[in-house]
Structure formats: structure tokens, C-alpha cells
Amino acid sequence: MRKEFLFILKNFVRMAILMFLVSIVAFFLVSVSPIDPLKVNVGQTALGSMSQEQIEKLSQYWGTSISPVRRYLSWAGDFIRGDMGVSLLYRQPVSRVIGVKLSNSLLMLGISWLISGIVGFSLGILAGANRGKRLDKGISAYALITASTPAFWLALVFLMLFGVWLKILPIGLSVPIGTEAAEVTIRDRILHGILPVLTLSITGISSMILHTREKMLEVMESDYVLFAKARGETGTQIVLGHGIRNILLPALTLQFASISEIIGGSVLVEQVFSYPGIGQAAVTAGLGGDVPLLLGIAVISAAIVFTGNFTANILYGIVDPRIRKARNNI
């Protein structure tokens, strides 16, 4: 029990260090940027017509005149206390902007993550258990094509198909245009979420299929499956009794490690559907030079990714009896 605790603690410390490094890297990247937030958001002509004092006031607001190390320290100090600064474009605390955007995205991301994981896992097992047959070839080809399709292009095609031609689904946003927040029904939310979820689940599926298929092939070649066949077990029995039990854990790990990909995919997909989520906020912040918001989003999404990895490590280390034993022997 103590060893388990130490293992978790070690992973946790590692995650904290990585978080710290990520924040430094992200901060470094945004502060070396030659993009002058004054010019982007105030405009060259407006700057020209302002007095020196006004410009100084603005440059204080956008924080362009303090040294980067001091800025990092004060930013990191505030960040730990939960104050991520004020978004320059939205003119609201970054934590609130991220909170709103994240709550828009989270459900969509979560559902797509679950769908792509479950469907990918099942398809991978089907393909692996039917090696070389038509079903396997079909599923493998599907995995190859989805791995090669740009998510945002697929989103465009769906938009064209369902939004423009068939007119059965709305073409963007997370709620209908021109309705008040109180009048938005759950039905509206679901209708607006269908296409993004569909796109993300379809494109995020391929690595899961390929991975599960490989593992399933290994299992099917193993001696214990041969023995099971000799005992007269049917294909379904073998898959359920020996296949899934052996490949569920690595698949779970992969699933937790794929969080980063699905967040990345959502940045593009949200852009296509004008879905007001965290990805779209990141793009707006990046294009508009809203440094606090961009930083906040980078650090928060890194935190989500690391939490996923952390969970995967724990799952692997604690749940898998083989690894647990190996660790105890060292």
C-alpha cells in the first residue's frame, strides 16, 4: 500500500514539474513575440493620432514595458492563486472566460472522446479477430482514411451536406442566433452539438482502431488462445474471455493519452462551426494578441492533458497486476 502511495506521489510530482515547465515555455513563446498588441488591437492610425500619455497608458494596460522574467514571476504567482489576469479582448478575467468557454466545449469533447474510444475499441477488436477477412480490410481502410482526413475539411463537408443542402441541422454556433440565454432549450444545444461531435468522433478514431487491432492480433496468435480453441471455445467466447481482458488496459491508457489530440482537433472543428468553445477562444486570442488568454488556455489545456497522462500512468501501474508485481520486485 505504501508503495502504491509513493508511486502516485512520484507521478504527481512529475506532473507538477512538467506543468511548471510548460508554463515557462508558453510564457517564453508569447513574450518573445514581435506582435505588438497595441498595433494589432488599437490600430496604427489610431496610435498615430494619440498623445504620448495615452499611448503610455495603453502600453501599461497591455503590459508591454516590463521585463519578461518579472512578468513571468508575477503572472505565475497570480496564476497559482487563481488569478489568471484579465483577457484583453473580452475585458473579463481570464478564468471566467476560460470557464465559460470550457463548459461549452467540455460536454462536446467528452462525448466525442467517449464515442471515439468505445467505437474505436470495438472496431479494432472486430478487425483483429477477423484478420485478413473482408471485415478486417474494410475497418483497416476506414482507419487509414480517417487518419488522413483533415478534421476541419470533414467538418466543412458535413456542414455542406447537413446544413446547406439538407438543411436539417444548424450551420454553426452552440445556440440559435438571436435568442436569449434563458430561452435556449436543451434541444437547441443538442442540435448544435451533433455535427462537431460527429466530426470529432469520426476523425479521432483511427489510432484506437489500429492499436486495438494490433493487440488483438497478438492475442489471437498466443498459445492461450490456441489452447482455448483446442478446448472448443467459440470465437465470441475467445474474444470476450481472453481478448478483451488482455487488451482493455493498454487501450484505456491510449484513450487517456489521446485527450491532447481531441483538444487539438476541437480547435479546428470549433473554428468551422463557429462553436464558442475553448478552441475558438485560443484562435481568437492568438490572432488578436490577447496574451493572458492565450497563456491561460495553453496552461489549462496542458493541465487537462497531463491529468489524462497521470490517470493513464496510475491505471497502468496500479491496475495491471503484472506491472504492479514487476515494480515490487525492483
Binding site: 512538467l18 515547465l21 515555455v25 466543412l156 455542406m160 489530440e261 479546428l268 496542458a302 497531463f306
Partner: protein, 274 residues
């Protein structure tokens, strides 16, 4: 005459794919000028024989634009794949053969780069370099090495346990010499396959980041820009603006996947009889 077998079919397919990709690159490279021509007398034409992908609202030939964009993506892919393979190979070898501290450093570095979602990292790098073409190229080139480095590191760790490496060490070869002389030949096929399989990622990310509006000015023909413009005209019925460029992009990426896959099978001696 020897029998025709599936291995030969693979060879043919391999060569044909490479020829196709090369032809796309070359055609695209030389149709840059054509892609920039604006001619309002032929605007918004649906696909026809002389304009296979149609024309846009400024009368630009979408076929030429798409080819130019994809050719640029492929060339950028070459750069990204080359840089990434070198980084991945060096880090993989360093991590696995230079002791525990180096290994910790390398795997930490891999985790660090993988920690920020890839497209967000590209946005950050592009932002850091002032959102120009430079930012896109740098971002694509220096962020794709992680998975390959992880693969190579794992492979080197396995190799270290093999007999011939242990013998080399007992014979007094230095760590670096063992790595270069005895491990590298074993790793090269993997690096080669990894090199080809980097293309799909690099190309898709390039399309993604230009689609988001980082990078090139909007009149330039890049796949992402073409698609993001196509998106604006989608509701006006110009379906060909977005459909064909994306389709060609997908085909190119599929071919790169297949080429990498086939290459892996062809040079793997263990599968020579399959």
C-alpha cells in the same frame, strides 16, 4: 520467369504512388503564377473540363491553386520530416545510451512537448515568431519529432539488452561508438519509415494552422487558406471550392500513409515471405 506475387504488386504500387506525389509536387511548383491570375470574366464557374476544380469568386483557377498549395505542403513536409527525423534520432540515441540523467531529460522533453495540444503549440510558436510564413515553417519543423523519438528510444533500450551490443561493450567500445556503429544500422530502417510517416502529420498540421489564419496572407495559395475561403462561400452554393481541394489533400495524405506502410513491410526482413 519468376512468379508474380503480392510483394511485386506492392513494389509497383509503391513506385506509382511516389511518381504520383512527385508529379503533384512538380506541377504545383510550376503553376504558382497561374494560381495567382485573377480573371473576373470566369468567376464562380463550376468544375468543367478546362477548370477541373472550378474557379472562385475572383476567377482564379482552383485547380492551379490547389496544386500549388499541396505542392507547398509536400515540400514543407519534406523539411519537417527531415528536421524531425534528425532531432528524434539524436535524442532517441542520447536518451537511451548516455545514462539515466540523459534519459530522464529526453523523456521529460518529449512529455513537455506532447503536453500542449499540438495545434495549440503551433499557434503559440507561430505567435512567438510574428504569425508569418516563418512561424508556420518553424512550428511544423520542430514539433513533430516526439513520437518518433519515443519509438527510437524504446528500440534502443531493447537493443541494449541484445547480445551483440553487450559483446561490443565487453570488447571495450565506447558508448557513442557502439551507438553509431552497431545501433544505427539497425535503427535506420525504422527512422526511414518514421520519416515517411511524418509527412501525413506535417501536412495535416500545416493545412490546419493556415486554415486558422496563422501564417500566410490570404491571397497565397495554401491548402488551409483555400479551404477557409471555401468555407465562406459554402452557403452561396460554391461547393466545389471546399470539396475538391480537401479531397486531393486527403488522397495525398492517404498515399503517404500507404507509402510509409509499404516501405516498412518491404524493408523488414522478417516479413520477406508475406
Amino acid at each position: 520467369m519468376k512468379q508474380w506475387n503480392s510483394r511485386k504488386t506492392m513494389y509497383c504500387f509503391f513506385v506509382l504512388s511516389i511518381i504520383f506525389l512527385a508529379v503533384v509536387t512538380v506541377i504545383g511548383y510550376f503553376s504558382y503564377d497561374k494560381a495567382m491570375v485573377v480573371d473576373f470574366s470566369r468567376k464562380n464557374l463550376p468544375p468543367s473540363f478546362s477548370y477541373p476544380f472550378g474557379t472562385d469568386w475572383m476567377g482564379r483557377d482552383m485547380f492551379a491553386r490547389t496544386m500549388t498549395g499541396i505542392s507547398m505542403s509536400i515540400m514543407l513536409g519534406v523539411l519537417a520530416a527531415a528536421v524531425s527525423s534528425v532531432i528524434a534520432f539524436s535524442l532517441g540515441i542520447i536518451g537511451a545510451s548516455m545514462g539515466k540523467a540523459a534519459d530522464g531529460f529526453v523523456s521529460g522533453l518529449i512529455d513537455l512537448v506532447m503536453g500542449i495540444p499540438h495545434i495549440l503549440l503551433l499557434v503559440l510558436i507561430s505567435f512567438a515568431l510574428g504569425k508569418g510564413f516563418k512561424g508556420v515553417v518553424t512550428g511544423i519543423a520542430i514539433t513533430h519529432w516526439t513520437s518518433l523519438a519515443r519509438l527510437i528510444r524504446g528500440e534502443v533500450l531493447q537493443l541494449k539488452e541484445s547480445q551483440y551490443i553487450k559483446i561490443a561493450e565487453k570488447l571495450g567500445h565506447g558508448k557513442l561508438k557502439t551507438a553509431v556503429k552497431h545501433m544505427t544500422p539497425h535503427l535506420l530502417p525504422q527512422v526511414l519509415v518514421g520519416f515517411v510517416l511524418l509527412f501525413p502529420h506535417a501536412i495535416l498540421h500545416e493545412a490546419g494552422i493556415t486554415f486558422l489564419g496563422f501564417g500566410l496572407p490570404p491571397e497565397q495559395p495554401a491548402v488551409g487558406i483555400i479551404l477557409s475561403e471555401g468555407m465562406k462561400y459554402l452557403t452561396m452554393g460554391s461547393w466545389w471550392l471546399a470539396l475538391f481541394p480537401g479531397l486531393l489533400l486527403t488522397i495525398v495524405v492517404v498515399l503517404f500513409h500507404l507509402v510509409g506502410d509499404i516501405l516498412g513491410r518491404l524493408i523488414d526482413p522478417g516479413r520477406i515471405h508475406q
